[in-house]
């Protein structure tokens, strides 16, 4: 059918104008090709600002062009486009000396998911104050819709934060493993670096393990674990929406 040849030619820079189009009009056909490719590149630029800053605008644009031709979107939602981009970065031989890039891009995907997540109330620290000590230990938390967790062998939280806020595009010590918590207490996405013990504790809580059991496990494995401080970080950043009944 016509759409088949038209579609193929739009995503193939070298292809000739498809049969069925009137006249010999490569420059006219190129308007569609240009609209499609430039529009999709622009979506990738919007969706990966830190990755873009790290790679430089020009280099990023070249990569994004290759990516959109190889992996065009499968649904009409541009804010969801690019889930496959981190893996694409990972396979680029030229980027082998920047192994943290793919994880920065993955984190940007999670931040975008959090930005668009369903609106939910945030569980405030005060909600725990009213509970009896026994009841407190049995508390099971319901994760907020925006909560996302990720670990990396690289300092991807620091790198992403620096390159999204414009603080610095320098990457001082990338080979420093980090744990990321992504939350959205209201409309702004918050990126927090957690320690290993805090991260494991949060994983347990968001997996439905009661507070006392999760806390005992954390203290057993990590002598430095500070329950009150950790709960403060999790609750003040909006990790949970409610206490399970």
């Amino acid at each position: 059918m016509l759409s088949e040849v038209f579609a193929t030619a739009v995503l193939s820079p070298q292809a000739k104008v498809p049969d069925g189009v009137k006249g010999n009009v490569p420059r006219r056909f190129a308007v569609y090709r240009n609209n499609v490719v430039v529009g999709l590149i622009s979506a990738i630029e919007t969706n990966f600002p830190a990755t873009r800053r790290l790679l430089g605008e020009q280099y990023f644009r070249g990569l994004a062009r290759q990516f959109v031709l190889a992996k065009p979107p499968q649904i009409p939602l541009m804010f969801e486009y690019g889930e496959a981009f981190p893996e694409y970065l990972n396979r680029q031989a030229d980027l082998a000396s920047y192994p943290f890039l793919a994880d920065v891009a993955r984190l940007e995907c999670l931040m975008r998911q959090a930005y668009h997540a369903e609106d939910m109330q945030v569980l405030k620290p005060e909600a725990l104050v009213a509970l009896e000590p026994d009841a407190l230990g049995e508390v099971v938390f319901k994760p907020h819709s925006a909560l996302r967790l990720m670990v990396s062998d690289f300092a991807f939280v620091s790198i992403t934060r620096d390159n999204r806020t414009g603080a610095s595009s320098q990457v001082a010590q990338p080979h420093q493993p980090e744990c990321a918590m992504v939350t959205r207490p209201e409309f702004d996405v918050v990126l927090t670096a957690l320690t290993n013990s805090q991260f494991e504790f949060l994983q347990s809580l968001s997996g439905g393990i009661p507070l006392a059991i999760a806390a005992d496990a954390a203290i057993e494995r990590h002598t430095e674990f500070d329950l009150a401080a950790t709960l403060g970080i999790l609750l003040s950043n909006g990790a949970f929406t409610a206490i399970q009944p």
């Binding site: 016509l2 759409s3 006219r28 009409p76 939602l77 541009m78």
Partner: protein, 290 residues
């Protein structure tokens, strides 16, 4: 029960909504009659985009403009996408819901552009079937917008206006007339925009779009207009708009400005310019009520 205020249908000018304009819009002063958004930008679950749109919707009537249903495509409609579309309609209760005579998806790949449709009787059947499906799922009438095009197809057996009129007659849909698209396509394919408009079923026009376009050159060095939505409306399009309004009377008219978006005051002044033209012409007929 409706969660939004019901406004009378504004037969006046409106503007495409850009979130960066929200505070200036709400600060008030002489403003526009309504806003329009692309449905696909509000298909996330929650967060800032919805908070901004809900705030706007509490004070203004809203038009919802789809760009991704691919009504003119070979493939069956994406029912999951249509369901997402319905969710946005239900959430914001727009007074107009519109889509394009174009296609944007083929074999699951989404092209993020409005690609051209061949005007044949075979294609007419497909478009009619798709609009029936959309109207059935949404439970309301769709407005179909005429496209801007850069190429034409061989083997067409209808012209664009006949195709659009036939679609409207067979589906009961109404029409969104984009005057800039008429000017762009007429210039690109060397036909008369005035004649196109004279033939257009103006009694079915329930919304008008105006926008700016870029001027380039085609393969033979001839003028090629690009529907870029990145500048002010040109004098020729204003003049064609006045011709249209002299026949239709005041119709909700939208200024589209999607690239190189200016300050709100600039966009607003374009809308107010459209409004002055609308107010020069008396109503021709009763418009439908919300």
């Amino acid at each position: 029960m409706s969660q939004h205020p019901a406004f009378p249908v504004p037969s006046i000018a409106g503007a495409g909504f850009k979130p960066e304009h929200l505070l200036d819009i709400l600060r008030g002063g002489a403003s526009v009659g309504f806003f329009e958004v692309h449905a696909e930008n509000y298909m996330g679950d929650g967060g800032a985009p919805h908070a901004a749109l809900a705030r706007l919707r509490s004070e203004f009537p809203l038009c919802l403009h789809g760009v991704g249903l691919s009504i003119g495509g070979d493939d069956p409609l994406d029912m999951a996408h249509l369901a997402r579309f319905k969710r946005v309609v239900d959430r914001y209760e727009p007074f107009i819901v519109s889509e394009h005579l174009a296609w944007s998806t083929h074999d699951t790949t989404y092209f993020n552009d409005l690609l051209p449709v061949p005007y044949t009787h075979d294609r007419l059947k497909i478009v009619v079937e798709h609009i029936h499906q959309v109207q059935d799922v949404l439970g309301r009438k769709l407005l179909l917008e005429n496209p801007s095009t850069y190429v034409e197809f061989e083997h067409c057996d209808m012209d664009e206006v006949s195709f659009i009129r036939e679609v409207a007659q067979q589906t009961g849909c109404s029409l969104l007339l984009d005057v800039n698209n008429v000017f762009v396509s007429a210039t690109n394919h060397k036909y008369s925009a005035a004649q196109y408009l004279a033939d257009f079923p103006f009694e079915l026009i329930e919304e008008i779009h105006l926008a700016g376009h870029a001027v380039e050159q085609d393969d033979e060095g001839e003028v090629l207009l690009i529907d870029s939505h990145d500048r002010k409306v040109c004098a020729e399009v204003w003049s064609l708009f006045e011709t249209v309004v002299s026949r239709t009377g005041p119709v909700p008219t939208l200024i589209e400005w999607d690239n190189d978006v200016p300050e709100w005051s600039v966009l607003k002044s374009e809308a107010l310019a459209a409004d002055r033209i609308l107010k020069r012409h008396p109503p021709k007929r009763m418009r439908y009520a919300v």
